[in-house]
Symmetry: C2
Subunit: 310 residues, 2 copies
């Protein structure tokens, strides 16, 4: 058995984003229900319904924990958390900075690639995580790792890019950002129970579908996949930014080279878009984009969405 | 005129704190109203009712902006913010890490002492704040500085300590944390309008009342002051932690050497406790501690508290 709770279904910035007044953000603020507000990217997974592993830890984690009784400290303890570990898929601010909230002398484990652990180590602000309480463990490509009680992951590299805040340094050092290259900067995860009966894929960031990735996902019972942008130039044409989805390390949902087309032949039983940017009109309940995703058999994640796999 | 909105009245961790099940946190979760939930420490101040300066920027800033229509982007802009600047009084995680949310190519200014600006510079994660958009300015002791439209501050050093995450390094380098020393690690601020008619003091962290500080505050129309702990050993006796209030750089509210006693002879017109820790029973509406603070003429800040000075 695996229980999955979506803590935050939005991409970096959430919905609405603090400084954004696009159609989607304005609708989220209006309270009409056309766009449901979404916090930043994170899911919680449990193999026993009691102890939880957080996959990516957004700065909204305080609000997310407050909103989910499963994650409250247990009765009879002054200090306690059902959160046993945190697993990171990259070093994006929206995936990393929630660790600054999960301090206060509480024991849990952090899992990430050496590359991402190095990013944490380079930032002394993360010294708030006392190593006496918070242990850091490396994830390696294709190496099955236990990350919680009865809970395992198999990490694999996916096309991505270095975190935004390290871009400039990478450019200086290597003269290229190598966007879309498979490195330890971005991983996907197969997440599964000890007996292997329940499993799913969590891939909140992916710059392109490769043949090995398509083969890996074929026939999966559930994939939660990068739903950042609907079309590659939506930030540009929406006057919201200068970067394409590709430039940010995310493939689009729509189009010939988009994720909906790429998944069509893979026979995945349940497909859920997650890490959805505020610029993405699929967030509007009555939009043509939402209808198109529905028709292609995709669900759009929302905060509090709960999935049980058996 | 100055308009003050308390965005977050809690100390680091907020109320309830993610992993805390003390009497106060449990009451906050219960929804009975005995303890009103509080986000982490921040206030917004405006001299014109339209452009706002955030004093300290907590990781809850996304939620705080979402909850306050004054801080939403204006109609007719795709990207916009009424937030013109951020002023930091120290480098505590609960005051600093919200800057990671205020990214997204939005122009505003950051003001802090050189010491605090150095902490930011030492953490590459803050490179998400593109210097093309976010300019950083040094505050210096007793030097009046304009921080926003019609809005000025006069910073002064208060007894405090280095940020938690830099403690170990300080110990290694200097063999002493020098808690309670007046350095650029912790400042208080006199905040005032251009004509000087409206002014108040904002001191969310202060380890002790000194004679010069008492003289500075005498006769003030409003002081918002460090309300972290009720009594010095409350974290210890509540089994919530090993540190005293003093050790964390905060003087207590109660007792002979506490802030209520220290303020009694100063003739301050309006006294508001802010930056209140979840361990502090003054947060319980019907507690004896609250009654005692009331009787001493102190208000207990809450999120959304609004004060207008004319």
């Amino acid at each position: 058995m695996l229980k999955i709770v979506v803590l935050g279904s939005g991409a970096g910035g959430g919905v609405p984003q603090w400084n954004c007044n696009c159609e989607v953000c304005a609708a989220a603020r209006s309270g009409t229900g056309e766009v449901v507000p979404r916090t930043q990217s994170s899911i919680a997974v449990s193999a026993d319904g009691e102890r939880w592993t957080i996959f990516n830890c957004s700065p909204d984690i305080r609000q997310q924990v407050s909103d989910r009784a499963e994650l409250w400290p247990a009765n009879g303890h002054y200090r306690h958390t059902p959160i046993q570990s945190v697993v990171l898929t990259n070093a994006d601010v929206d995936h990393l900075s929630g660790l600054l909230i999960l301090r206060e002398k509480q024991a849990y484990e952090v899992f990430a690639t050496e590359t991402v652990l190095d990013v944490i180590a380079e930032n002394p602000i993360f010294n708030v995580l006392d190593p006496q309480f918070v242990s850091r463990h490396a994830l390696a490509e294709n190496k099955v790792t236990q990350v919680g009680e009865g809970l395992f992951v198999e990490p694999f590299l996916v096309p991505g890019k270095v975190a935004l805040f390290n871009e400039e340094r990478m450019l200086a050092e290597e003269d290229s950002l190598k966007i879309g290259e498979e490195t330890e900067n971005t991983i996907g995860l197969k997440i599964f129970s000890e007996d292997g009966d329940a499993s799913f894929f969590y891939i909140p960031g992916c710059a392109m579908m490769t043949t090995p990735l398509a083969e890996r996902l074929t026939g999966a019972s559930l994939v939660m996949f990068d739903g950042t942008v609907w079309f590659d130039s939506e930030m540009v044409s929406g006057k919201l930014g200068a970067k394409t989805g590709q430039r940010m390390g995310h493939m689009s949902m729509s189009g010939e080279r988009g994720s909906m087309a790429a998944f069509a032949p893979l026979g995945v039983e349940r497909k859920v878009f997650i890490h959805i940017n505020n610029s993405n009109r699929v967030l509007m309940e009555s939009s043509p984009e939402r209808a198109e995703a529905d028709a292609a058999g995709w669900e759009i994640a929302y905060d509090g969405m709960t999935i049980e796999l058996r």
